[in-house]
């Protein structure tokens, strides 16, 4: 496993700043190749299928409008969902934060005396770090999505929200499976590896009576829940167990059943470049004689309501987790997901993570972008990610301005010095003369500065700087004027 990145901790409160976290990946050609290959394949498929849709922009507009309307009236739609789901036999729980959600889920499991659970891929559960918590409480968790099995058995963290193991190639998957399933005879043929996962899980689907899922959509007018998937592991977990616990962010609600006519059209194309994903399941509460007879929904806030309060940032919650933004992002393509230090990487992660942390952590993420706007262009719900990035950057700056550290920070010292220098012409001229002398020490024969010490190194690390010219424009102008007046005489 030496080729993989060191096991990262995807806890924004503990993660190193983005530029630091990105370095190991930038020095890992295998990892970069795996990521680039995966995003290239998805983007190509997406582009082909989006081009096929004559009404793509109209679908995007409608999807954005539906999500905006829902968020603006979120309380009413959540109450409606709760009432309808309860009437249909489900039980709805509310969780303010991660620890409350974990506790609610554990209590339900204890009620059933459940020692094992099967799980459908849910990034929300990774957000609340559910698996390590349940394991520490003596509950054995079995992930059932192929990518999640790879991560779980390989002790890896997700690096993408749709294909979370995209940073791991087939020979690495073979290594993980051979070791953890005790099957040294496996080859690295994806077909064979997929079959190995099927065998590994079959008995678990049939025997373990408790499942945990996320939700793609909560339907307010019916109290239904919809889950979109490919492999059938979702259908297994939603159909065979006796107890089902669905964990969903409060923003996942849609007003009406028929809103799916828009969301399902934009989601599959954006996420995997398919006309439709193989399986979508929808169920209302408990249906007698079919599926789990004991159904719980845990509605998770965990910072979402604070995002809702801000006009520019509110759009972040429109997200339907398709990952088109990360697939199109030139930064993500180079760094992969782990550098973001969060289960939500890429452009959406760069705006969602610091906000979920209420701007207390992950302040480097709004800078993990070139503001090229590719993410906005592909977003099926038209989240203007660059706009939110800029807004968050300004909040980071205001935070720093309030902190004492700025008194000693070289950047702020430099900016204060610049403030003084630019305020008087004579100081500016003096600074130019000193600057020319100072920069002269670093300017090479070709007239460029290739490397600067201290804070200047941040600039020259990735680009060169023109050396100071021999004279300033003003000096040149004065000399020219003096010269021409001499000539005219």
């Amino acid at each position: 496993m030496s080729q993989l990145a060191e096991h990262p901790v995807l806890d924004p409160a503990k993660a190193p700043p983005f530029p630091q976290a990105a370095l190991p990946v930038l020095h890992n050609p295998q990892l970069r190749k795996n990521v680039a290959h995966a995003v290239d394949v998805i983007q190509l498929k997406r582009a082909r299928l989006v081009a096929e849709k004559t009404d793509w922009q109209e679908l995007r507009s409608a999807a954005a409008a539906i999500r905006t309307h829902t968020l603006e009236n979120l309380d009413k739609y959540l109450e409606q969902f709760e009432a309808r789901c309860t009437a249909a036999g489900g039980r709805v729980h509310w969780a303010s934060d991660a620890s409350e959600a974990r506790r609610i889920i554990l209590d339900i499991l204890r009620e059933d005396d459940a020692r094992q659970v099967i799980k459908i891929k849910t990034m929300t559960s990774a957000e609340i770090q559910l698996n390590p918590f349940l394991e520490s409480e003596g509950v054995k968790v079995f992930e059932t999505d192929l990518a999640e099995i790879i991560l779980q058995l390989g002790n890896e963290e997700p690096s993408h929200i749709v294909v979370p193991a995209l940073h791991i190639n087939r020979s690495q998957v073979r290594e993980i499976f051979a070791k953890s399933m005790g099957r040294p005879e496996l080859t690295d043929d994806p077909r064979e590896l997929t079959a190995a996962a099927r065998n590994y899980l079959r008995s678990k689907f049939l025997d373990i009576p408790t499942a945990i899922s996320g939700a793609n959509y909560l339907i307010a007018d019916t109290g239904g829940v919809a889950i979109v998937e490919s492999e059938g592991n979702g259908r297994m977990c939603l159909t065979l167990p006796k107890t089902l616990i669905t964990l969903a962010g409060i923003e996942k609600v849609l007003p009406r059943f028929e809103d799916l006519e828009v969301m399902l059209q934009v989601l599959a194309r954006s996420a995997t470049g398919e006309r439709m994903n193989p399986y979508t399941s929808l169920w209302n509460g408990v249906v007698p004689g079919d599926g789990p007879q004991n159904f719980h929904v845990v509605l998770l806030d965990n910072g979402r309501s604070s995002i809702l309060a801000k006009t520019k940032e509110r759009q972040t919650l429109r997200c339907i987790r398709c990952a088109a933004c990360m697939n199109s992002c030139p930064v993500y393509r180079q760094t992969g997901g782990h550098a973001y230090g969060s289960v939500y990487p890429g452009p959406i992660g760069a705006i969602l993570t610091p906000q979920l942390m209420q701007m207390r952590f992950a302040q480097s993420l709004p800078y993990a972008s070139s503001l090229c706007g590719a993410c906005y262009e592909v977003c099926p719900v038209k989240i203007n990610i660059p706009e939110v990035l800029l807004e968050l950057r300004s909040q980071v700056i205001s935070q720093e301005k309030r902190s004492l550290r700025r008194l000693f920070d070289p950047l702020y010292l430099g900016l204060r010095a610049a403030g003084v220098i630019f305020s008087r012409a004579w100081i500016f001229r003096a600074a130019q003369r000193f600057g020319r002398i100072g920069a002269g020490l670093f300017t090479r024969k070709d007239g460029w500065i290739h490397s600067l010490p201290s804070i200047g190194g941040k600039w020259t690390q990735t680009r060169d700087l023109r050396g100071f010219p021999d004279k300033t424009f003003r000096e040149w102008w004065r000399e020219r004027a003096a010269h021409s007046s001499r000539e005219s005489k």
Binding site: E72, D75, T194, T239, S281, D290, S305
Partner: protein, 220 residues
């Protein structure tokens, strides 16, 4: 329960405060919802054979097997599908028409089959609620002719009988037909698949690894 209730109130309260400047009153909610512009394509332009051809093309694109039949020849069509796979034991939901259950096949009618029993069959034969040509999607509402969910999940082969009159072109057309909203839905677009290893599409993971459709022409 008291703790849960207070959390509920706290969360709702935070949401109300956060949206107070933009939220609509409860009485205008429906009005505002209905006013959401929906300029996308609702009705398809294809009819009859062209619509069916699109569905078949899209299904084959997912590597599903597709055959056509007339109403009179449906029994034969089912027979040749079974023969081609050497399938002798099939599960069926209780509500399928008797004519579908052709002779010389061991039909396991679902009157509470156990999961182990469903696992053992060679395949399952069901009807469908609807099919969407544009995306190659078969829709099950799990009525008595479509069976409960486990029945079309555990067998390795799903044979689905579709009638031309059940085919719509676009997803919005399906939602017009699906009123009142069903309690259980499975939208199936091809056999189960994964692309989790190096984005290589592998057909067949946990759901039925093979999907076959017989499209019955019941229109003029």
């Amino acid at each position: 329960m008291t703790v849960a209730n207070t959390t509920r109130e706290q969360v709702l309260d935070r949401i109300r405060k956060a949206t107070s400047s933009v939220a609509t009153g409860p009485s205008q909610l429906n009005e505002q919802y209905t006013a959401i512009p929906r300029p996308y394509v609702r009705k398809g332009a294809l009819h009859g054979a062209a619509k069916q051809a699109l569905l078949m093309e899209r299904l084959r694109d997912y590597e599903a097997e597709v055959a056509e039949s007339t109403q009179d020849n449906l029994g034969q069509a089912i027979g040749s599908m079974l023969a081609a796979r050497d399938a002798g034991v099939l599960a069926v939901p209780g509500g399928v028409p008797p004519a579908w259950k052709i002779p010389q096949v061991d039909w396991r009618i679902d009157q509470g089959l156990s999961n182990a029993e469903i696992e053992k069959v060679d395949g399952v034969l069901t009807g469908a609620f609807c099919a969407i040509a544009d995306s190659g999607t078969i829709v099950l509402h799990h009525t008595s002719c479509e069976g409960r969910r486990a029945l079309t999940l555990l067998p390795d082969w799903h044979l689905c009988i579709l009638f031309a009159s059940q085919v719509v072109e676009t997803l919005p057309e399906y939602f017009e037909r699906a009123r009142p909203a069903p309690k259980l839905v499975t939208w199936i677009s091809g056999p189960s698949a994964t692309a989790d290893i190096e984005m290589t599409r592998i057909k067949g993971v946990h759901g039925p690894r093979q999907l076959s459709v017989i499209l019955v022409n019941d229109e003029e």
